[in-house]
Amino acid sequence: MFVSKPTLAIVYGAICGGCDVALVNLGERLAIILENYDILYWPAAVDSKRETLEKVSSIDVSIYMGTLTNSEEVELAKLVRSKSRVLIAYGTCAIYGGIPGLRALINASQTLKEISSTTTTVEEVRLSRVAELPDLLDRVKSLIDVVEPDVIAPGCPPSDSVNETLVDILVDYAKGAKLEGKVFIGDPNSLCSKCERKPPELSKISMPGIRRLHELKLVEDKCFLEQGVLCMGPVTRATCDLPCIKNNLPCIGCSGPALNVEDMGLEMVSVLSSILLVEREKELLEEGLSKELDKIVDLIGLLYRYTLPRSLLIKLKSSGGRNER
């Protein structure tokens, strides 16, 4: 048991703010957290500085959101890890890199060059020489690359059901319960296991080609893949409440890889190859098949939208083929 209320720190890396909103969206449940915890640090809600974190001897629970893109964020992550009894990686960015993680393809100087002197910006941007800015990392990292969290809450942003579980864990912990090992919140199976559109026999799914959403009239209760629409469901963890599927949009893989899937992209390549045009292979031959496969315009954007920094090919790029894993 805690003598006084346990402390809670909510710390940011590179975030869009969606994770914060997801927490605030807890509504009444948020009040339960506030009843049980003293908020030590949360830039969006309380007035506290980094010194506050540096001064305290220990923090009971820390929630980390966002990707690690510069040296300051790495220091902050290490700081909260060393002081926290429980560290929670919250949201896909902290776990797999998320959208800011797409920068993993280029290094710091290429990034600065891109934003300051190419046509993506209208005017040339001069970087401030007055203020001392933290160094951009050459490779974007996820929290897991730097420190070991105790609780993992995936989702972009984490869904209501993930948040419910998280609040339960937080409340139990404040009442003195111990965490047993590493907790991975949410259903570890693939999204297809929960999907209502899946056909009765999963092994018989066949893609009739590759179609973009505007090219066809979607049948609302039929599997996306069977209609030719690229859906990341087969390799994605089923932690969400299927908001996209229910709104007639295919899965884009924001919850990260399902159990036993280490690399979403490579696994999805395998899935697509197994189901694409299986009935017409002998008629189309290599030429026809490659023509159809060429219809996928941006493979990285499709396969690694949320998990690029943790993909094996990024590892290959940074290790140079001399296994450092």
Partner: protein, 139 residues
């Protein structure tokens, strides 16, 4: 210093390319020893993950050998699966800035031991031109 030689992992299907490798051995055909053959039940079984793992663990190129299309596959259509996997993986590799020529798929029947030797020699000289995989990724 000795001349750099590429390392190649080749995944050969048991029924065609793998048998061709056996035949090449029995017929005493010479080919360079820096190609490491791994015989698998079917080329369609070679997942992209397996190929990338090979590259991660020190291979400079990966060769996938299967039965001739359209009709030779022992399991009906494993070779088409292999083709699609390798085709997509090559596209992905080039988007990552890794030369897609480092991965190659070839159809070699059980009797074509000569073709296997030719393909291996060709592939090795191509890789010698490309240099170690380090060069691709450090750019």
């Amino acid at each position: 210093m000795a001349k750099w030689r590429p390392t190649v992992i080749s995944f050969l299907c048991k029924w065609c390319a793998g048998s061709a490798a056996e035949l090449a051995g029995v017929s005493r055909l010479n080919y360079p020893a820096n190609v490491i053959p791994v015989v698998v039940p079917c080329s369609g079984r070679v997942s992209p993950r397996l190929i990338v793992e090979a590259l991660l663990n020190g291979a400079d190129g990966v060769l996938v050998g299967g039965c001739h299309t359209p009709g030779d596959c022992h399991y009906m259509s494993g070779n088409f699966k292999a083709f699609k996997r390798v085709y997509l993986l090559k596209k992905l590799l080039s988007q990552f800035g890794i030369n897609p020529r480092r991965v190659r798929v070839e159809w070699i029947s059980a009797t074509e031991s000569q073709k296997l030797v030719r393909v291996v020699r060709e592939f090795l000289s191509e890789l010698e031109e490309l240099g170690p995989i380090m060069g691709d990724v450090r750019e």
